[in-house]
Every structure is written in C-alpha cells, then in structure tokens.
Symmetry: C2
Subunit: 200 residues, 2 copies
DNA sequence: AAATGATTTAACCAAATGGTTAAATTTTGA
DNA sequence: TCAAAATTTAACCATTTGGTTAAATCATTT
C-alpha cells in the first residue's frame, strides 16, 4: 500500500467517524502512519482531501443498480430489486448514510449535493411507474412521495444505528441480521402499497 | 429577554446550524450580543451548554403524543394519529431530525442516546399492536420493523431537506407544502400495509 | 556516478479555539 | 444607604488547529 492509499484509507475512517468538523488532520496522519505534511503534499488541504473521499464513497453508495433494474419487467419488481440490492450495500457500509446526510446538511454547501448521482434512477423509476400505472398494474400513489418513502424506510435504521443498538441492546452482528431480515419485510410493504385493490 | 434566554436562543441556532464540532462559542456570544465569558459564567463549558440545548430540544420533538394516542381505539388509527401529530412538529422544526441524528451519531457518546424518551410510546404501540393482531384487525407484520418503517418514512425527508430543495428546486415554503401533503399519503400507506387481505 | 525529480521529515507558524481571571458595574436586601 | 452578591467586561492564556518551509532522503534516468 503506497502513501496515497494509506492516506485515503485513514481519511475515510476519520471523516466517517468524526465528520468533517470533528476530523483532525493529525489523526489522519497518525492512522496512516505518515507525516502530517504528506497530507498536504498529496491533497493540498483538508477540504480537498474530504472532497476526494466523498466522491469515492458516493460512487460506492450510488452504484449501477439503475442499469440492473432495467432487466426487471414491472415497477413493483424493480422497486423490490432496488431494495434487495441497496441493502447489500448498506449492510456492507452501514456508516455511509450518516456520512452522506451529514455532508449534505453542512451549512451553505450545495456543492456536495450536486455530486449526488440521482439522474440514473429517476428516469427508470418514473418511466416504469407511469407505464405500470396506465396499464393498471399498480395503485395510484404519488410517485415522488412513494420514492421518498422507500428510501426512508430503507435508509433510516442505518442513520439511527447507534441508538437502535443501545436502545434494544444489540451488537453489530445482530444489527446486521436484523437488517437482513428487514429486506423481505420492506419488499412486502412495497407490494401491499402498490398492488391494486380487487374491485370484483 | 434576559441573558440566559439570549444565550439559549443563540446556542440553539448555532448548534443546530453547525453541529457541535462546527459550533463556535464566540459565534454564540456574538449572536446573543453578550461577552463570551458570559457563556461560561452561565453554563460552565461548551459541552454543558450543548447538553442544556439538547435536553430542551428533545422535549419538543418527543412530546406527549403518547398520551393522546390512548384516545384512539385501533392500532391503525393510533399510528395514523401519530403521523398526523408528529408532522405538525416536524414541519414546525424541520431541522430537529438532523440535530438529533447527528448528536446520537457522535463517536463514543451513548450519553445522549439514553436521553431519548422512547418508553412512553413503546408500551402503547406494542400493546395495541398485539391486541389488534389477535382480533384479526390488522395484518401480521413485524411490529419492530413496521415501527422503524413508519419513523423512517416520516423523518427521512427532513434529513434530506437541503438535497431535496436543491434537486427538485423548491424553497422552504414549497417544501412545507410538500410535507403537508405527505401526511395523507403516509396514512394511506399505513392503512394499505396494515389492512388484512379479504379471504372471501 | 551524477544529476534530476519525487517523496519524506522535522521544525515551525499564524490564527483560532475553549476557557480563565480579576477588576468593574449593577442589582439586591437588610 | 451601603455592603454583599450577582452580573458583565476586557484582557489574557494555553492548546490545538490547518497549513508551510526548507532541508533531507529516495528513486530514476542518463
């Protein structure tokens, strides 16, 4: 592992654990086992180092699920597939949601918001939604509110992970199991919401 | 408004906007239009001032909805009432969710997690759930996962508010309207999830 | 091997930070 | 009224912060 890689690994850890304001350049240097001046040699400033990390991490969190979703026929199946795939990522990187949320909530910083690659999923989502709506395959819900709901149901427990662990007294492993079980529960909710009522 | 109140008001603003690490005692003093030494005179330290603010704000976010919920008969109605009431608070204090989430995610800090008053709602929720489940009034879902889902659907948009505003190009007022509309949509989702399928 | 460029180190710096102190001012109560 | 207590101020402090610099070391190329 070369110096640059060591820095990135250490910076990831520290920024994710402590947030931008809480992170200390010295601590990043210590964890990377390099001189603090090296941080600036490779990345010029704290801000630029953070940006590098953020970009890399966002790529992990917003992967090419969109592409894969195309292979599913109906809207409901697409959404269920999204949940399934997204949870594999979330379970692997449970700290990512808070990292992203705390970054986009940083005062006066629309810069990072613009880096979120939402376009890819928007198209497929809405196109598929209206297609299935017209053919009566799904119930008439507000697509925007529905999307936010699916995201919220999915991501929320990862944002409250420390509280959940403490309040119901579980460790990381048990949390992981709980989230694994959650996948089917969420898919079920989605089906119940989207499946039209039988007017026989 | 006396000095202590001025400090609290200013501290609220700054801690909520900037987070604990980002907040500066000098900025709090400036906004309160008092000398920085006064902060320490009244609250000893940054940590203690923050604790004061957190406690006050948590009281606002976790109010006596629990009590009021008792007056609703069925589980479904209780949940819908909760959403309705909770949204009135969220719309009024849209920045609170991020404030609480970022506090409980602070490294090695179970202290604040323990301050979250969840007990009040837990009892009513589970008792009512199992009661209605037995009498066949609701579908058999996992009560824990369901609770997290309702919370997630409700709170999530307030955590992503800056991103939502930017991405779909709306201002605070429009966001508020969107959230007002969201109430009925969420209540609808809850009913669709909980209403048992008719096996005629 | 010598020169060149890339990498690393240690010492350093100015600014900002949370916090303190002692004196000055205002408020209170006997 | 006047002394004691509470409040406010300005100056100060030690430490930490992100960042710099110049010299030293290492790698590469001719």
């Amino acid at each position: 592992m070369n110096t640059e890689e060591k820095i990135i690994k250490a910076a990831e850890e520290v920024f994710i654990e402590q947030g931008y304001d809480g992170a200390r350049m010295q601590e990043i240097a210590d964890r990377a086992e390099i001189n603090k001046a090296m941080l600036h040699y490779y990345f010029r400033s704290k801000e630029m180092l953070f940006e590098k990390i953020f970009e890399e991490k966002v790529k992990v969190l917003f992967p090419t699920i969109g592409e894969q979703m195309k292979s599913y026929e109906g809207f409901t199946d697409k959404v269920c597939f999204f949940i399934e795939q997204y949870y594999q990522i979330l379970i692997k990187y449970p700290f990512m949601p808070f990292f992203v949320i705390s970054t986009i909530n940083r005062k006066d910083d629309k810069h990072f918001i613009k880096k979120l690659p939402f376009g890819f999923i928007k198209e497929i989502f809405f196109e598929s939604f209206f297609s299935d709506l017209q053919s009566g395959k799904i119930r008439e819900v507000n697509p925007f509110q529905f999307a936010v709901s699916v995201m919220g149901m999915s991501i929320f427990p990862f944002l409250t992970r420390p509280a959940m662990k403490e309040l119901i007294g579980i460790n990381d492993e048990q949390f992981q199991i709980l989230m694994q079980q959650r996948i089917d529960e969420l898919k079920n909710y989605v089906r119940l919401i989207l499946t039209p009522t039988n007017h026989a």
